[in-house]
Amino acid sequence: MDTLVAQLQRQFRDYTISLYHQGFLDDQFTELKKLQDECSPDFVAEVVSLFFEDCEKLIGNMARALDQTGNVDFNLVGSSVHQLKGSSSSVGAKRVKGLCVTFKECCDSQNFEGCVRCLQQVDIEYKSLKAKLQDLFSLEQQIVQAGGRIPQVDI
């Protein structure tokens, strides 16, 4: 019979694998995990938290810039997209990064409708990732609270 810890560990493992397989995360997230240890046990959670704050701020900037009807500064939008692409790349947020690539192209070609669509998608995507990672971290906490160790998951 499975202990609670074993069940939680299995859930954690399966969930982690699914996040990679569905393209939410890429190997840069794995790289971040390598930087986490007993001295910095919350490193990944802290970095992704900063990333999500960044998302919110940058998406706000983009929305404001796109809101200037008739006078949209696509360079400004593009610059925010570039920053978002950079930070999503650094944390392994694969889908967000992919959307940023498309978004940048829309900015470069001054495609307003395209930009608006991309903005909506990026907003949905980062929030979706945020929720999933919160679930993942919550599983970690449950494992630790149940006295277990967080398994290393090889993708």
Partner: protein, 261 residues
């Protein structure tokens, strides 16, 4: 496993305090430790690079702009800074694309400075643009890392530094290294855009150095010619110019890299 250089804080009276927005305080410097100045306008990237460096036993000062970097180094003011003796900087690692002053412009200013021109400067960029890489290397950059930066990239830099680290009194000494081979010639990063590869440099005449071989200073190593063919037309085509065409520089470099635990 590399020790975390940032874990123990040496409680000494003198603290180098960068302060300000985007500045990050680092613990007081120990003359034996490698001190890296990291420059990146992205907070996320600063946190990551700082952690990467600390985990490879470096002391880190992270700033958010080229101007702050110059300020920290004391390059931008004309009077000689009394703090300069304590500002032992062994490596400067900077993002390329930054508002205000680009990493390239920062590189130029550092190379124009008599106090800091010998400090190796590494450029990071999310874009694999050959002309950009060339320009930076020509201006004296030691290396060019493709973002996102990985632990393997930083470990490689760290090994590269161990033979070049100078103490503030000008003597070179070797720090404990965890690898046998040390790359001492100017590297060029030509990485394919596969997502799982890191971007180690293509090194020329890389002798495996052991304790008996003399370490090269960054200035000396720069004088080695970059003499391999490059495709220079396309900006964003990554090229392979290693002698063994079926091996990319990335894989070839990985084979020589120290084993990572």
């Amino acid at each position: 496993m590399a020790s975390d250089g940032g874990v123990f804080c040496l409680r000494r009276p003198e603290m180098i305090n960068v302060g300000g927005i985007g500045g990050m305080e680092s613990p007081p410097l120990d003359v034996d430790e490698v001190h890296v100045l990291a420059v990146d306008d992205s907070l996320v990237d600063r946190i990551v690079i700082e952690r990467l460096l600390r985990i490879t036993s470096c002391k880190v000062t992270a700033v958010d702009s080229g101007w702050r970097a110059l300020e920290f180094l004391g390059i931008d003011n004309e009077k000689a800074s009394a703090e300069l003796d304590r500002l032992k900087v062994d490596l400067i690692i900077t993002d390329y694309c930054m508002p205000g002053m680009t990493g390239y412009e920062l590189l130029k200013k550092i190379k124009e400075s008599s106090s800091f021109r010998q400090v190796p400067v590494v450029i990071m960029s999310s874009e694999n643009v050959i002309t950009r890489i060339d320009r930076c290397l020509e201006e004296g950059a030691e290396d060019f890392l493709l973002k996102p930066v990985k632990l393997a990239d930083v470990k490689r830099l760290r090994n590269y530094l161990t033979s070049d680290v100078k103490l503030s009194n000008g003597n070179k000494r070797k720090l404990p290294e965890d690898s046998v081979s040390v790359n001492t010639s100017p590297p060029l990063t030509l990485s394919p855009d596969s997502s799982e590869s890191s971007s180690p440099p293509l090194t020329l005449s890389s002798d495996s150095s052991d304790a008996s071989s003399p370490p090269l200073s960054p200035v000396e190593s720069l004088s080695s010619p970059l003499s391999f063919p490059l495709d220079d037309e396309d900006d964003d085509v990554s090229t392979e110019s290693s002698p063994t065409p079926e091996e990319s520089p990335v894989r070839r470099q990985k084979m020589r890299s120290p084993s990572l635990d």
